[in-house]
């Protein structure tokens, strides 16, 4: 935000009032983050299909754009823009039209506290990490809205599953990040990344065994939180057609799609900043921080894709069992364990 307002002052001179600067800086940041979300959908749909193809011994998209079908997402986007916007007769029209935006805005708000590079963070909040988890917790309301408004039993089932799953997996997701907050002594995302500078051995993932376990738990919970395989019960195509967005077409569907891939990247960015040292490289001085951050996050996205296309789907009861009887106790163990570790190693006075 500071760098953006600095840039705006350079372009428009010092004549801008602080309020105008704040508002224009905020709008610029929001625009950049929206573009990041759109890029996520474009890049990761292509990547997803290529990864799926690779794992199933086939090529995936090959025709559009010459090299390995790189322009396939652009063609898909043009197709989806040209689709008819259908609203079912019996749908609750106001809620049906509102829900894609609720989900999209909930996702966009979380991007405000992601530190991509030193100084490149939309809002350097003192409660950064807590804020991200808080605004992501509004997403189930958007999903319930979509499922209810469609007036379709598959959509409602998908929404009920999706909301129950996200509400449940928020708990291990947030608890897994608590040991890091304890080690840093701050919820500020910049402070968390700064504390991990100076090589791979200072990253929180190797801080102590409990933090390594916490990272693994975070990774599993984040897959469930973004409703992707093997935790994609809300949209199981074999039983629920397409889950909560069964009735959506065209641009409205595109918003769901955009939010899904943006959330996939978002949870990977959080993991990068919190566990994998953010913009700090494996060794040596900080070099091209934004690129380092992106590479780490994209590797995590790739891992999530590998998991999705490798493992079979869980059942709903297995899903809840995994969350409440396995992951929540284990994350609590991580919190306790890293607390004891910090006391013994003398980090905590």
């Amino acid at each position: 935000m500071e760098s953006i307002t600095g840039l705006l002052t350079k372009i428009f001179g010092d004549g801008m009032s602080p309020m105008a600067l704040l508002i224009s800086g905020g709008l610029t940041m929001a625009l950049i983050m929206s573009l990041v979300m759109a890029m996520c959908a474009i890049v990761f749909t292509w990547m997803e299909r290529k990864v799926a193809g690779f794992l199933q011994s086939r090529y995936g998209p090959m025709r559009v754009g010459g090299f390995h079908g790189v322009l396939q997402p652009v063609a898909d986007m043009l197709k989806i823009l040209g689709k008819e916007d259908i609203i079912p007769d019996e749908a609750d029209k106001a809620l049906f039209m509102l829900s894609p935006f609720v989900i999209f805005i909930g996702s966009l708000m979380a991007w405000a506290a992601i530190p991509f590079a030193p100084g490149f963070i939309a809002s350097n909040l003192d409660l950064g990490l807590f804020y991200i988890f808080a605004v992501s917790s509004a997403a189930p309301a958007g999903i319930l809205m979509a499922g209810w408004a469609s007036n379709n039993k598959w959509a409602l089932y998908g929404a009920a599953r999706g909301a129950a799953q996200m509400v449940s997996y928020e708990i291990p997701l947030a608890l897994a990040a608590i040991p890091v907050v304890m080690a840093t002594g701050s919820l500020n995302m910049n402070a968390i990344v700064d504390a991990q500078g100076g090589g791979v051995l200072n990253w929180y993932i190797v801080h102590d065994p409990f933090l390594f376990l916490a990272f693994c738990l975070y990774f599993i919970a984040s897959i469930a939180e973004v409703n992707r395989g093997p935790f994609d019960m809300p949209e199981t195509e074999s039983e629920l057609v397409a889950g909560y967005h069964t009735e959506y077409t065209g641009m409205r569907f595109a918003f769901f799609f955009l939010a899904e891939y943006a959330n996939l990247f978002l949870v990977s960015c959080i993991a990068t900043a919190v566990f994998l040292g953010g913009w700090h490289p494996i060794a040596g001085p900080v070099f091209l921080p934004g690129l380092v951050f992106l590479i780490k996050a994209v590797i995590l996205v790739f891992l999530q894709m590998l998991v999705r296309w490798t493992l079979p789907r869980l059942r709903v009861d297995q899903l809840m069992h995994t969350c409440w009887k396995v992951m929540v106790p284990l994350t609590l163990l991580c919190v306790l364990g890293s607390g004891i570790w910090m006391m013994v190693s003398g980090e905590l006075l």
Binding site: L127, F130, S137, A141, L144, L156
Partner: protein, 187 residues
């Protein structure tokens, strides 16, 4: 000036959405409007410099309680076919309660002295709240966690699988009672 505008924006959002919650005939719409009321209140907290409270409000009320309310509403009935009854038997108790609550709120609102602080730089509040919770407020904090634990155990007991199905109960009872009777027979 600009801060005033933001305040009125959040206040308007809170009040308008709140009115919608009260006057809407559709329970599900009312539930979703509640989301915007709670969001407005969170915004007001943030404007007062209570950032931790604002974020907690979002997590607890929008992420937790609202979802629970929506689940309950959606799973119980279809609002379009089942508009709420408006008989006198409902209106009289509702009216009494409304007047009583208004009187109480009025008394509290006029009886409180509202201290004002000069707006300054918003300071981080999370650390202060954490220290308070672990020192001065440790008893209420632990007591609240005990209450929640009791609620959780209660919920687990309510939904646990019962070994004996109601339809098969008599046969099962006979089967289980038989061995218990045996000692008496032998005695």
């Amino acid at each position: 000036m600009a801060a005033d505008l933001v305040f009125y924006g959040f206040a308007l959002l809170t009040v308008l959405a709140g009115c919608f919650v009260v006057f809407s005939r559709n329970v599900v719409h009312a539930g979703f409007a509640l989301m915007f009321t709670l969001l407005g209140v969170a915004g007001l907290y943030a404007m007062l410099g209570a950032d931790f409270l604002a974020v907690t409000q979002t997590v607890v009320y929008i992420g937790g309680i609202l979802i629970l309310v929506l689940f309950a509403v959606m799973m119980t009935r279809v609002p379009s076919q089942n508009a709420p009854r408006r008989g006198l038997d409902r209106m009289v108790p509702a009216g009494i309660f409304a007047v009583a609550i208004f009187a109480l709120l009025y008394k509290v609102a006029t009886g409180t002295s509202w201290p004002t602080a000069t707006p300054g730089e918003a300071l981080p509040t999370a650390k202060l709240i954490g220290v308070k919770l672990m020192t001065d407020a440790i008893f209420p904090f632990e007591f609240a966690s005990l209450v929640l634990l009791v609620a959780m155990i209660g919920a687990a007991i309510l939904i646990r699988e019962r070994k004996v199905l109601p339809a098969e109960a008599p046969a099962e009872e006979a089967a289980t009672e038989a061995p218990a009777d045996e000692p008496e027979v032998t005695a």
